[in-house]
């Protein structure tokens, strides 16, 4: 099925914004997805008028929208990189763009631009083609190699037609000639930013439609939705990422998702748990060694840095690095070159760096145990993984996923009664603990569903007294609808017991304020507090 989209001539900006979509629509063969994509990315309700022409299905967008400057989207966008060796041009571009509400990053060379791209994802790049050193054309080529979706507007003089043609062939989104015209700059920039945003969104929706998405990462809770939104942004950039999260929250899974959905997915994903590497072997592990470099080095061995070339290097537990290793690592990251142990050749490797730690690194810095300069090298983009106790809503889905993944089909589900206990538990070991628990329960479970008695005693005894650990009396309580009923009853009981005292009810239910009030809203119990207080 092929969709062709027609627009009024005057809405040229819209045409340009949706033109990349057209390609995807043609490729997808999925009408429903196409409409969803258009609606989602444009934030307007589109009406598609369809008709059969020439054996193909054609769609015409008949919604008449006014083109507004949507570059200030509620999701927030990255800055505009202005790359020009001429300080006057940089100054003027900054003046015009910042007045339009864009955050502007000024860069004086292609080299500076490529370095900045390793640290931040811009919404678009304004790139002068005529620059000394690495030059505009090479910069453009490198930018598109790593992020083909990033819109680049090239700036050139009015007599450089050949360069413009070459730049457009290399993937430039548009071009502007100097001296620049303010109106044209602003319009072109708004289009480029919007196109970039749409292209990234479409790319994400395509991933989801293809079933790629983030396999193995289960969650629909508010904290996980935030994580997924951040992942969407990270997957279209090459930025260095620091993942914070308690042990067992799935940091490596997230790092792998960033790699698998990014531009380096064809390269290797190399994960190193630094806590598991003895300090004496750390250098050899990371940078490799030459034959005979030390006792036992009977062969040359390449290190993890080399292994990760063209891919992603994931350094887990960076908080465990000794001060000596921190210094070495900092030097390598600064100079971007390293040597194998016992070797003299300076080597370099092109990898994306993702790191993680379960420690509070800011506190480690305050205590003088972690170098500030190294921290800032790592923490270009920080992603916080919530502990399981902060995303209890995901426990049923996670548990069922583990039952399917770890079981042999004999046990099919987790009973609601067991889930009640699990949702009230604090999970200090997070998802890993949940996974282990399901694995254990699958062994001891005799029926088709994991029951409270299949859970460890420590977990059952940790549950607040108000939550009955017996299986629900009514057999009908074994489906999702009843789980809601059950939760509603628990909340009502807690409120009644404490005569409308919300804080006491929260304490008894062992849940936070936000979740408590969300439950009140969900269960239609918002008036319950007042009602009980009046009775009192």
């Amino acid at each position: 099925m092929r969709f062709s989209l027609e627009y009024p001539e005057t809405q040229f900006a819209l045409v340009r914004a949706v033109s990349p979509l057209q390609q995807n629509i043609t490729l997808k063969s999925n009408e429903k997805l196409c409409i969803q994509v258009i609606e989602f990315v444009t934030h307007v309700t589109w009406v598609l008028e369809t008709s059969n022409k020439f054996g193909a299905k054609a769609g015409r967008v008949i919604h008449n929208v006014s083109w507004s400057s949507r570059h200030m989207s509620d999701e927030g966008i990255g800055p505009i990189f202005v790359v020009d060796d001429d300080p006057n041009q940089r100054m003027i571009l900054e003046h015009w763009l910042s007045r339009e509400g864009y955050e502007v990053v000024l860069l004086e060379s292609g080299e500076a631009c490529l370095e900045a791209l390793g640290e931040e994802l811009p919404a678009a790049i304004c790139l002068d083609l005529n620059m000394p050193g690495f030059g505009g054309m090479n910069t453009l080529e490198h930018v598109h190699e790593h992020n083909p979706l990033l819109p680049v507007i090239v700036l050139t003089s009015d007599d450089a037609v050949d360069s413009v043609v070459k730049a457009m062939r290399l993937g430039a989104r548009d071009y502007l000639t100097k001296p620049l015209d303010q109106t044209k700059l602003i319009t072109t920039m708004a289009n480029a930013v919007e196109v970039g945003r749409l292209a990234m969104r479409v790319s994400q929706l395509e991933r989801e439609a293809d079933g790629r998405g983030y396999p193995g990462i289960v969650g629909n809770s508010a904290p996980m939705k935030t994580v997924f939104r951040q992942l969407d942004r990270l997957c279209v950039s090459d930025v260095t990422v620091l993942i914070h999260g308690e042990s067992g929250t799935g940091k490596e899974l997230i790092a792998n998702a960033i790699h698998a959905n990014g531009s380096r997915s064809r390269g290797p994903f190399v994960a190193v748990n630094l806590a598991a590497v003895p300090e004496t072997l750390m250098e050899s592990e990371l940078f490799g060694h030459e034959k005979g470099a030390f006792t036992g080095a009977i062969n040359r061995r390449i290190g993890r840095f080399e292994e990760a070339n063209k891919g992603t290097l994931f350094l887990d537990e960076i908080g465990e690095l000794s001060p000596q290793v921190q210094v070495k690592l900092l030097r390598v990251l600064q100079e971007r070159t390293f040597q194998r142990v016992g070797g003299s050749a300076k080597l370099s490797s092109d990898f994306r760096l993702v790191t993680a730690s379960h420690r509070d690194l800011e506190e480690e810095m305050r205590q003088g145990r972690f170098r500030q300069d190294l921290y800032f090298r790592f923490a270009v983009f920080e992603l916080d993984l919530p502990p399981l106790r902060m995303r209890r809503d995901d426990i049923p889905a996670l548990s069922r996923a583990f039952v399917r993944q770890l079981g042999d089909g004999r046990v099919e589900n987790v009973s609601n009664a067991a889930l009640q206990i699990m949702m009230a538990y604090d999970w200090p070991g997070n998802i890993r603990e949940l996974q282990n628990l399901i694995q254990r329960a699958l062994v001891v479970c005799n029926g088709k569903e994991i029951q409270p008695e299949d859970l460890p005693e420590r977990m059952r005894s940790a549950v607040p007294a108000s939550i009955p650990v017996e299986a629900p009396a009514e057999p009908a309580a074994l489906n999702d609808t009843t789980l809601e009923d059950y939760s509603r009853r628990l909340v009502t009981n807690a409120l009644t017991k404490h005569e409308g005292n919300a804080s006491a009810a929260m304490r008894e239910l062992n849940i936070g304020r936000t979740r408590f009030y969300r439950m009140l809203k969900k269960f239609g119990l918002e008036g319950k507090i007042e009602e009980l207080r009046q009775v009192k």
């Binding site: 001429d86 006057n88 041009q89 003027i92 003046h95 005529n130 003089s157 001296p179």
Partner: protein
Amino acid sequence: MEDNWREQVDPDFQALLPDFIANLQSESARLPGLLERAEFGELARIGHNFKGSTGYFGLTELEQLSRTLELQSRAADKPAVSATIDAWQALLVRLGLAPDR
């Protein structure tokens, strides 16, 4: 006329004028030395850059000189570049932009 060019600069650019003038003066001061060392690449770059930015401030004569400087430098035509630099410096004096000595 460029004699009263400051008043004619777009109000939008008045705030940028001090920085522009500072850049113009510092780059202009380098021109004789670059010519002496026959660094035509750098001379062409300066010509190219001012060709693109002088127009914003209504300095059309300087814009033309920048264009000439770029072309002559690319051709490594030392006598022609020398004459253009002289004209450039003279124009700065006339515009009241020559750096204080």
